[in-house]
Symmetry: C2
Subunit: 191 residues, 2 copies
DNA sequence: ACCTGAACACCGTTCAAGT
DNA sequence: ACCTGAACACCGTTCAAGT
């Protein structure tokens, strides 16, 4: 390591920091995501990160919203089908980033631009399904909570009494789809 | 503080430690629950706790299962009503311990004796409702995930896009009940 | 068996200084 | 503006010792 003195640039970027955070998360899970580890991977002093990120919390917020960019928008206008598509895509994206799911749960649950975009899409479909007023927001929240919750369950984060055998990915997917159908049936038939 | 030397008893108990942990949690939330703070409240050195608790993780596990002891068992045999009762009671108990809800989510989600007991009760009701085989466990997990998820949402832990006004307790309760009805309708009608 | 003092190996974050 | 060194105020946990 040819060392830099103070004032010498390391070419640090916000995007480079996020990338390092992602690979750290993928490799060692949530508990290995520390500012010091990120700095270490980038060959930089821990406090150098604070020139590009306000604090760890803001960094994690960015991480969470970035993932939601991968969620596919529905390809049809029919409400039930459309909702099934967005929620299924969200579920798959969350499973693909299983290490982040506990963060969505414990933390605020993403409030960035991508979360906003998906929320608006869901609301549109719910209105098309005949919901109005407060029940639109209610149904949206129920669907989101259900999806993150099931993703947490499928992502090896055991919930509830623990005798059950470990869930296989395809079984988890079926289970998610079945519960989602239950919910959508209840939501649409209640109008 | 008349100080004790090494070897002198402080009258420490596992139950006293749990009580201190609970009040710390109630006062300052999850982030104020540290081994050192517990020790401080009990007038004891931090490492003294390790004579009564294996580690912080085990302590939190006990905390989580203790809360579930408050959940009321259903008073009727009719499956839908019984399930509505257990889940509603669980929801209320979780809301009464809002500070613990993120822990249920992020962490394993309780595997102690009380969690087992409630799981068995739910399974009984689901079987009475006509479910069989794998769908019993599926339905139970869906109901548990939904209940903890909605409790998290109601307990001021925002989930999803964030324009919504803060949810009032009674609104949250209504929302939980509505989604639960959706789920139960879907679960029972699918048989 | 139960507790203390001291220490280890960490955290996130701030501050002053260098270029 | 971007980075470093050093430090602050914390963590959970372990180890050796005292009674």
């Amino acid at each position: 390591m040819a060392s830099r003195g103070p004032g010498q640039r390391a070419g640090l970027t916000r995007e480079a920091i996020l990338a390092a955070a992602r690979s750290l998360l993928a490799a060692g899970g949530l508990e290995s995501l520390t500012m010091r580890a990120i700095a270490d991977d980038l060959g930089v002093a821990p406090n150098a990160l604070y020139s590009h990120v306000a604090n760890k919390s803001a960094l994690v917020d960015d991480l969470l919203d970035d993932v939601l960019a991968e969620v596919a928008e529905p390809s049809v206008d029919e409400p039930s089908t459309g909702l099934r598509q967005v929620m299924a895509s969200t579920y798959e994206v969350l499973l693909a980033h299983a290490d982040l799911v506990p963060v969505y749960l414990a933390r605020q649950g993403a409030r960035g631009p991508n979360a906003q975009r998906l929320g608006a899409i869901m609301d549109d479909l719910l209105v098309k399904a005949g919901l109005a007023g407060a029940s639109v927001g209610e149904a949206r929240r129920v669907l989101i909570v259900y999806t993150i919750g099931l993703a947490a369950f499928s992502a090896q984060i055991p919930i509830g009494p623990g005798e059950d055998p470990p869930v296989r990915p395809d079984e988890a997917r079926d289970q998610f789809a079945r519960g989602l159908d239950w919910l959508l049936a209840g939501i649409t038939q209640s109008q």
